[in-house]
């Protein structure tokens, strides 16, 4: 597609439920990032993939968060046993470069997660 595509756009989860958020990066983009954006705040880094390799997961807030990109294209961010503090917008981004942020980084429209 023309841009970074994320689904679902909106998700309401009951506390304790598991959720999976999908990201389709721009075709051919090697680097893929996940960010978490709380209301009124700037995005915060979660994790980074170069192709299928997860090179940096230092921003994942707990072991309830897990991300994968098994074939080097689509990525899934999974949150287990969701808690209210997980409520945020989860942004996926991709770029062409192979070494972290390189040139323009394109963001998707985000998945809005509300945990009730």
């Amino acid at each position: 597609g023309a841009g970074v595509s994320q689904s679902p756009r909106y998700k309401v989860a009951k506390r304790g439920q598991d959720v999976a958020l999908r990201c389709d990066p721009i075709s051919g983009h090697v680097s893929l990032f996940w960010y978490q954006q709380a209301l009124g705040q700037g995005p915060e880094f979660l994790t980074y993939f170069q192709n299928e390799a997860q090179l940096d997961k230092s921003g994942l807030p707990s072991d309830r968060f897990f991300a994968e990109r098994p074939e080097g294209s689509v990525s899934t961010l999974k949150i287990q046993r969701t808690q209210q503090e997980d409520s945020a917008v989860y942004l996926c981004a991709s770029s062409f470069g192979q070494q972290g942020p390189y040139g323009t980084i394109y963001f998707g429209e985000g998945s809005w997660l509300t945990v009730v």
């Binding site: 705040q41 700037g42 880094f45 230092s58 070494q99 972290g100 942020p101 323009t104 985000g110």
Partner: protein
């Protein structure tokens, strides 16, 4: 600590006026980015600044980078209502090539 600070956090300005948003960061960087975000929307890339003294302009927006001062500015010339949005700067710090550290954003409101 890797920190990015923006000011002001909120800016209300009249159409036709000029203003500058400031972005300070805590240590050496590889790249600095400016993004625009409209309510409920994603981040739109505005500028990528790579080196000291870099200046880029697009329409009424001009961004500059001073790596020695660890400062970037986003200058708005003759503001129009369509520029109302939240503006973020984000830094790729040296040695942390995989991640961007974002500022808290500047919410710009342009009034008639």
């Amino acid at each position: 600590e890797l920190k990015v600070e923006q000011n002001p956090l909120f800016l209300s300005m009249q159409e036709g006026k000029n203003y500058t948003i400031y972005c300070n960061y805590s240590t050496t960087s590889d790249r600095l980015y400016w993004y625009r975000q409209d309510p409920g929307k994603s981040l739109e890339s505005l500028f990528v600044l790579l080196s000291n003294g870099a200046v880029k302009q697009e329409g009424r927006l001009m961004a500059s980078l001073d790596t020695k001062a660890r400062l970037s500015t986003l200058h708005i010339t003759a503001a129009v209502h369509d520029l109302s949005a939240t503006y973020f700067c984000a830094v790729s710090f040296t040695g942390t090539a995989s991640k961007l550290t974002f500022g808290t954003g500047t919410r710009l409101q342009v009034t008639l």
